[in-house]
Each structure stands twice: as C-alpha cells, then as structure tokens.
Amino acid sequence: MTVHAGAAARVRARPRRRLGPAALGVLGVLPALLLIAALIAYPVGYSIWLSLLDKHSFFPAERWVGLDNYVYLLRDTEFWDSLWKGVVYATGTTALQLVAGVVAALVLHQPFVGRTLVRALVLFPYMIPTIVAVIVWRWLLNETYGLVDYLLVAWGLVRQPIVWLGTEHVMTSLIGMSVWQFTPFVVISVLARLQTIPPELYEAARVDGASPWGRFRWITLPQLRAVLFVVILLRSIWMFTKFDTVWLWGEGAGAGREIRTLPVYAYMRTFTYYQAGYGAALAVVMLLMLMAATVAYFRLFWREEEAA
C-alpha cells in the first residue's frame, strides 16, 4: 500500500508533457508533408539527379556527367525547335480557349429555353477520354474519307480537301481539337464567377445608361479578373506540359514532327532515343521555365492589383 502511494506521488510530481500548439500544428500537417515529399519532392529530386547522369533508359549502366546534359541542350536544335512549337501550341490554345470560353459562358449565363441541357452538352468534350476524342477527330478530319472535308467541298467552301493532318496544317488542327476539348474548363470557371456578380451592379449601370459593351467592359471583366488570372495560369501550364493529346495526334504519322512539343521531345529522348539522363534534363528545364513564367505572372498580377 505504501509502495502504491509512493508511486502515485511520483506520477503526480512529474509534470505531464503536453504538446504545444506549434508541435500539434506540425503533427497536423505531417501527413500532407509526407505525401508531398513522396509524390512531388522525390520525383523532382530524382529527375534532377538523373539529369546529371548519362544513363541509358533500360540498361543499368550510368555515368556522372555533371551539367553536360544542360550544356548539350543549349546547342541542340531539336530542343529549340520543340520549345518554339510548345510555345506556339500553348499560346494558341490558351488564347483561343479563353476567348471561346468567356463567350460561351456569357451566352450560357443568359436565360433561354433548354439552358440546362446546353450547359450539360458544353461540358461533354471535357468529359470524354483523350484517346476517344483524338480518334474521332482524326477520322473526321481525314482528307480522303473524313466528314469535315466532305462537307467543306460539298458546300463549295473549298475546291480541294484540306489536308488537316499533313505537315502544313497538323499544328492548326491540333490547336483546334485541343480548344474544342479543353474550353469547357474555362466555361465552367467563368460561368461560376458570373453567377456570383451582384445583379445590382448591372441595374445601376443600366440606369446610368451603360451600353451592353460598357457593362461587359466595366463590370463583368473586372469581376472576372481573379478567375481569369487563375484560368490563364492553369491553362497555360497545362497546355505547355500537355503530352497525351499532342502525342496521340502526331504519333503514327511522319507529320507528327511538326507538333513535336517539349514534353513529346523529352519523352522521345527518354523512351525512343533511350537517353534517360538527357530526357530528365529536358524535363527539369521545362519545370524551371514554368516556375519562372509563373513567378513573373504572379508579380505582374500583384502589381496590377496594387495599382487598381
């Protein structure tokens, strides 16, 4: 009994350790940090490590080359060519998605019969798998048996079928198809924001005699500013790094070279040239470019926000 009482006293005497708010906070975010480390930090770190090696893609031999892959990249004309094609593709598709998406969202924001159905239909391209979209569009655009050229010729809009998938127009057709596929993302984002703009703003503008264009220019556009910022940022990153659509569009065709963007080139270096180290260097450079562009974009936006 005495022993038990003594033990109890010792327990009471020892102050209970409690986790402070900071430690609790760390514990709380730890799972997320571990997840990020496993899913982002490790692959990125490994890619950087790989880019410093001359490594065959499947043969175990590897050799430390330091920055040689990056030096080689600077004088690799294929790299510059693919970078240019990637910029053309990302800029073209993002700009067109933005215009088409905003216009479509404005139309879908207006009340009309069957609006719910049309809104659902507009989302359709975004929901179908890329491979299906590519196969269907390649079939539609084939100049020998495709429906698009058949209609263009039948309606007298062109004299000869347009070779959409040949070397001359393959980039144009890819941009068109990508805009069709990814514009619904812009539509959803912009439409969601449009629905939260207070109608009083428009009523007041009407009372002041503002024209429809004036209302769009001075009310809608400023209200959409934040959402457009995010949409432009995400869409340009996603289009610059887009692989599946571009690869499938050009794969299996000699004309595919005309749309060999940077992600496709990085893939080719890794899996068809079997140069894993150089492929990783291309991927790292792509990451750095995107980070630089994102930082510049954020700074520009903040500066304008402050000015506003």
């Binding site: 040949g166 070397t167 000699g254």
Partner: protein, 443 residues
Amino acid sequence: MRRLVAAAAGAWFVALLAVPVHAQPKTVRIWQTETEPQTLAMLNQIAADFQKVRPDIEVKIEGLAWGDLEKKLTAALAAGAPPDASHGQPITCAAFAAKGLLRPLDDLVETLGRDNLVDAFRNLCRREGRYYGVGHSPASSVFVYRKDLLAQKGLKVPRTWDELIQVADALREVKDGQVVRYGLTMTGAPLFINIGVGELLKTNNGRLFDGKGRPTLTEKPVIELLDFYKKLNRVLPPGWTGHGYLDTFANLANGKAAMLYQAYGRGVGYIEKYAAKELADPAHFAVTDKVVGPSGKTPAAQLDSEPWMVFKNARNGAEAVEFLKFFFRDDNYIRYLHTVPIHLLPITKSAYKNPKYADNPTIRKWRSWVDMQEKYFRNDWIKPILVTEWDDLQKPYLLEVMGSGILVDMVMDAVKGMASPEAASKAQKRVEELLARGGYLKK
C-alpha cells in the same frame, strides 16, 4: 505417455507434409503484336490448351500495337517489370541480346529442331553462337496493284522507281475537279518510313552504315532515295504523311488508290471485307516485284518477323519457354497461322510440309501472294527493318536509330523541300551524334 504424445504429433506433422499442396500456378506474361481478334482468340485458346497439359502454368497473353511495342518494352524494362516473353523487331532482339537482357533460347531451338527452321530465318537473333530469339512467323512486305486498272489504261507493271512514278501519275483519276482515285498510296507512319528507307535503299544498292558502323547517309544511293521521296510526294495523296498503316489498306480496298507499295498479306482481309465482291480476288489485286532504284539491280522487301524473346530476369522464363515449345507444335502452330493465312507464314519446315497447313481456302485463293513472299525468302531479297546486310543485325544501336526518328525527319525534310544532300547531311550529323552519345561511335 509423453512419448506417445510426441510420436502422435510427429506422425501428424509428417502426414501434413505428405498432403499434396495445390500451389498457385505460375503466371507467364506474354506480350505480342498480333492484335487481330481471331489471332488473339486463338492464342488464348492455345494458352488454355497448354494449361490443361501444364496446370502449374498459367499463360496471360497481351496484345500490343506493333508500332508501340518497342516504347512499351523499354518503359517496362526501365521500370524493372518486363513481361516474361515478348515479340520484338529483329533489331530489338539484337539490341537486347547485346545488352545482356535476354535469356538464350537454345533449348527452344533444339526442341523445334535447328534444321527445321526455315533457312532464311534461322539466324534472326543469334549472337556469339547462341539463339536469343525465334521468329513467330515470317512475312514479306509486298507491292500490290490493281491489275484491272493498269490493263484499262494500257499500262505496264512498273519495274523501276521512275516507272512507278509514271504509272502512279497515269493512274490518277479526276472527276469534276476532284481526285477520285490516286495512283499510289503509302503510309507516313514513322515505323513504315523507317522500313521504307531500309527497303528502298536496298533496292538502290545502298546501305545505312559502313563496315565500321559509321552512318553513310551522304552516299549517292541515299541522296537518290530522297529525290525519289520528293517525286513520290507529288503522286501520293496530299495527306500521306498523316496516313496510318491501315488507312493505306482502306485506300486500296475501297478504290481510293490503285497501288499500295508497302502492303502485307493481312491486306487480303481488308480487300475481302471492303472491296466490291466482284473485285476481291488476286486477278484484280495482284502482287508484283518491288521496284528497283537507279543504282540498284534487284528488288528488296522488308522481313516482317518478330522473334519471340524471353527476358533474362523474367520471373518465369523457363515456363515461358515451355509454352513456346507447345505453341510451335505443328497442330497448335498451324491453327495460329490460319488466323491470318496470307500474312502469318510458317517459320518451321515441318509446318510448311504439313498438308493441314496448305488446306486452307484463303491460302488456295491468294496463292500468288504467298508465292511472291516465298520468292523473296528464297532469293534472300528480304531483310528486317533498317538492315541492308545481314551483318547489320550485329549492330546493337539500330533500335536507337529507329526510335530517334532521325531517318523519318530526313525524309520529311526532303519532302518539305529541303535539298536532298542537305537533308541527308543533317541526318548524318544527328545519327553520328546519337551513336557517339551512346558510346557506339568515337567522334
């Protein structure tokens, strides 16, 4: 008492060990490129039959698109998870064997009988005296033309590159300002441009590499080849660079084109399915020798025969070989060959001689197509992709050259208007750099 209990426990333990344990069957993963539904079904049937004989082995067959195989194999190897066995191009097999990735298949060859393999294909993937691959079935690319259309226009079958262009030009038909039939169709798929470069170069007495392994793209036969592609570009459908392999079969079968240069026996299936019934026979869709270049004398075609390869680190490599022995047994093998009769020809002499093999209505009907391929086999006019001489198969870097697409870019540069010597010179530098980076060539 204690002894009794111990004895009883011991007896129980021994009895337990003696009970036959039904272990899970070992799974053999096989990748292969014959993706036609009836062929896949037959392969699965052969696998099921095999499992009846060997219940301890389960075979899983996966079909992969031909043009994708190398990329997927590489990715699987890079991930450390290749299948147990797979098809591959002969140059893939050569590259993998050189890098020590394959298990020797001498035991399979011994079972089939070394002399039982058709002579021309016995050494498809042989290195330092050992076999690393056995072709699943050989076929040759063929040149198909519409005999009736040539006859209608009083045209002779082309024999040379120039004649091919002339005949293609003459066969083009225009109605109301629209081209309703092109004289010739060819695919722009990178794999087939690689095939075309090797094949056409061989007909022009050319080569891709010299004896020391250095690329020879600036040599006269290559320049002439690029000039020929420029001429082809004028007579082919304007979108040919975007046309896939199957598009060209469709063009031929539905009358959109009168000749198909890079055809294969499986095209017969398309013709029978899509051409008008009264036309779907070899009297209308005939085959002839491949055309010869200005510097060449003999025709040449591409050997389409993916060797079976078994990976050295495969979990169940020995079991995969057991399945392949079963697959090549005449009764099974002939069933497989008959799924695409004019394309899948036997690689074993015993299957050739077996009366069951010839007893097939499609083979009887399209015999001239089979004869043409056999003629190429006999004359040694066929070589695997990018191989102009059999010794080229010892070069372990052809896979990289094919995968890089440099030869495709060279053709596209020429087709888009770059002077042939310039396009060749650009490609030469790129291949040299590729080989130097890979450690295959000293700068």
